[in-house]
């Protein structure tokens, strides 16, 4: 549970450097922002703007070089890699552009995978995974492998996997990048519904304005800094 009165995500002066052959590359140059529980945020920016780096930091896949990041009041930079893994498992769900399903596992086993790392028994895992697949409308396809499913279906399996441990935040990195317009619309509608009906916090990285239009708030990155942070109401105004 988030500490009362504090935002779910609190970022202050966040910086991230990468050491490359050509020297130190500053991917993030001081980012400060808050995201409260239940928000639906779109992060935009050109490639190289730092949005993916920011996303990796928020998703606890990486640690910042400087600055602080508090998730549910916990200082992420102080956590061990095991604690980060546990946090990713319990609090965070990922949806990727390339779906990132394990090709040799069935849809059911893919969805059940995070539950295995949560320490559930095989039967519990399967029951819960099946329920998740039904929720994304793929209850009938649980024994298909990803290659036997369409792109839209694969992304729904990935969403079911992200939801499996009932996290509070879902990070979606270009989730519609590999999908056609109609399928994209269905996926985005599902995300909106999750956010509206279950209060799941959604952070979406995209470079498409119409996809970003589903979100209530738009944050634009450029050269490692936030250059725009507006709500839909402000955009409309």
């Amino acid at each position: 549970m988030a500490t009362p009165g504090r935002p779910l995500i609190e970022v202050l002066n966040l910086e991230k450097d990468y050491v490359t052959g050509a020297g130190v590359f500053q991917a993030l140059r001081g980012v400060s922002l808050n995201i409260t529980e239940g928000e639906f945020v779109a992060i935009m920016g050109a490639s190289g703007s730092g949005k993916s780096t920011f996303m990796n930091l928020l998703g606890c896949l990486d640690r910042p070089s400087r600055g602080s990041y508090h998730l549910s009041g916990q200082d992420v930079s102080r956590l061990s890699s095991d604690q980060l893994a546990a946090l990713r498992n319990r609090e965070i769900g990922f949806v990727f552009q390339g779906f990132n399903l394990l090709p040799k596992l069935t849809a059911l086993d893919n969805v059940a995978l995070p539950l295995m790392y949560a320490g559930m028994t095989r039967d519990e895992r399967r029951r819960q995974a099946q329920a998740m697949l039904e929720r994304v409308g793929l209850g009938e396809r649980s024994h298909h492998t990803p290659l036997q499913l369409s792109g839209g279906q694969q992304q729904r399996v990935a969403i079911a996997r992200a939801l499996a441990t009932r996290p509070r935040i879902i990070f979606a990195d270009e989730p519609t990048g590999n999908l056609d317009t109609e399928t994209s619309r269905q996926v985005m509608d599902f995300f909106s519904q999750l956010n509206r009906e279950e209060g799941i916090t959604l952070v979406l990285v995209t470079h498409e304005a119409d996809i970003a239009g589903y979100a209530q708030r738009r944050i634009r990155f450029q050269d490692g800094r936030v250059v725009e942070d507006v709500t839909r109401a402000e955009v409309a105004a």
């Binding site: 990796n56 998703g59 896949l61 990486d62 890699s81 095991d82 893994a85 546990a86 990713r88 498992n89 319990r90 990922f94 990727f96 990132n100 399903l101 394990l102 040799k104 596992l105 995978l113 995070p114 295995m116 790392y117 949560a118 320490g119 559930m120 028994t121 095989r122 996997r161 441990t165």
Partner: protein, 407 residues
Amino acid sequence: MIFSSLFETAWHALATHRMRSFLTMLGMVIGVAAVILMMAIGEGAQVMVRESIKSMGSNLFIIMSGASTSGGARVPSGSAPTLTFDDANAISELKDVLAAAPVSSGSAQLIYNGINWSTSVFGTTPDYVVVRDWPMESGGFFNEADVRSGARVVVIGQVVVRELFGGEDPIGKIIRIKQAPFEVIGVLAPKGQSLDGRDQDDIVMVPISSAQQKIHSNAIRNRVRFIMAQAVSEKSMGIAESAITELLRSRHRIGMAQDDDFSVRNLTAIAETAAATTRVMSILLGTIAAISLVVGGIGIMNIMLVSVTERTREIGIRMAIGARRRDVLWQFLIEALTLSLIGCGIGLLLGVGGALLVGNLAGLPVSITPTSVLLAVGVSFLIGVFFGFYPARRAAGLDPIEALRSQ
């Protein structure tokens, strides 16, 4: 993370790449089978040598006529018997000697009821079976009186019983040895093979006096080619050996500067050498087999490294959805262990089967000991851990972002 899930995951990964898993396992299969087979053969050879040594009798000397040293113009060993019956008696009187028996040997044709059998005929005294620790199966051995009177009595070995008598009871029957009739008074218990591979049961024994009169026609009266003697204990072997040498030198009136006209051989020492040789051979076989086991282990490491590289993206995905480093480590370690242990299981079956086959077809003595089985399983387990650890640690050390980005 639940342990059974790890095995499930490992099994699934291995089953997905059947051919590769099989080939990787093959290294372990061959290694373990080789260890089991080689140790079975080595152990079997040792058991055989031990049994031969046991059948020989303990703390034995064989005293041969003629010098043992070679070189110069010498009479070949044993060609002119220098030892006498009295030498044997004198040796048996020594403090450190339990008994000594002169032996006159040769081969002869036996006939019973129209059946012929050629075998070796030993002329000796009752002390021979004492020295050799050779019990009777039925009947009795001849006594001192038989030796003194040159009685026509014979004691026969198992092979002779089988060849001449079939199912018949040989006791009391008359057989002809070189035409002379001898009465069978006893049957020797089976002894099996000697160290040099001869069948010790293909033999008959008669009083030495009778042998020299009727059978060993070229024998010089009261002289023998060799005497068997037994020391009272293993510790007294050394003292007994020098006492025998001393005694014979003085009895044969050999001057200080002259060489012995006899040679004393410590059979127990020879047997120990044979046992040591077998042991070395057995260690050598085991070592070669162990090397193939290690090579199998390296094969596992090789494939696991390939597998980690190939599955980098999978590792990234697993980490993103909550796998801790140790979960990834365990996943790959268990995979390596599963490979090595299944390989070990198959190798065990093949090794045991192969050993039994070798035992039956080639007639080699084989012996599968629990030690060799435990050793093979233990070593396979260690190999799985040892060669699985490095690739597993590599997998666990991957950076999740980099791993997710890889193709």
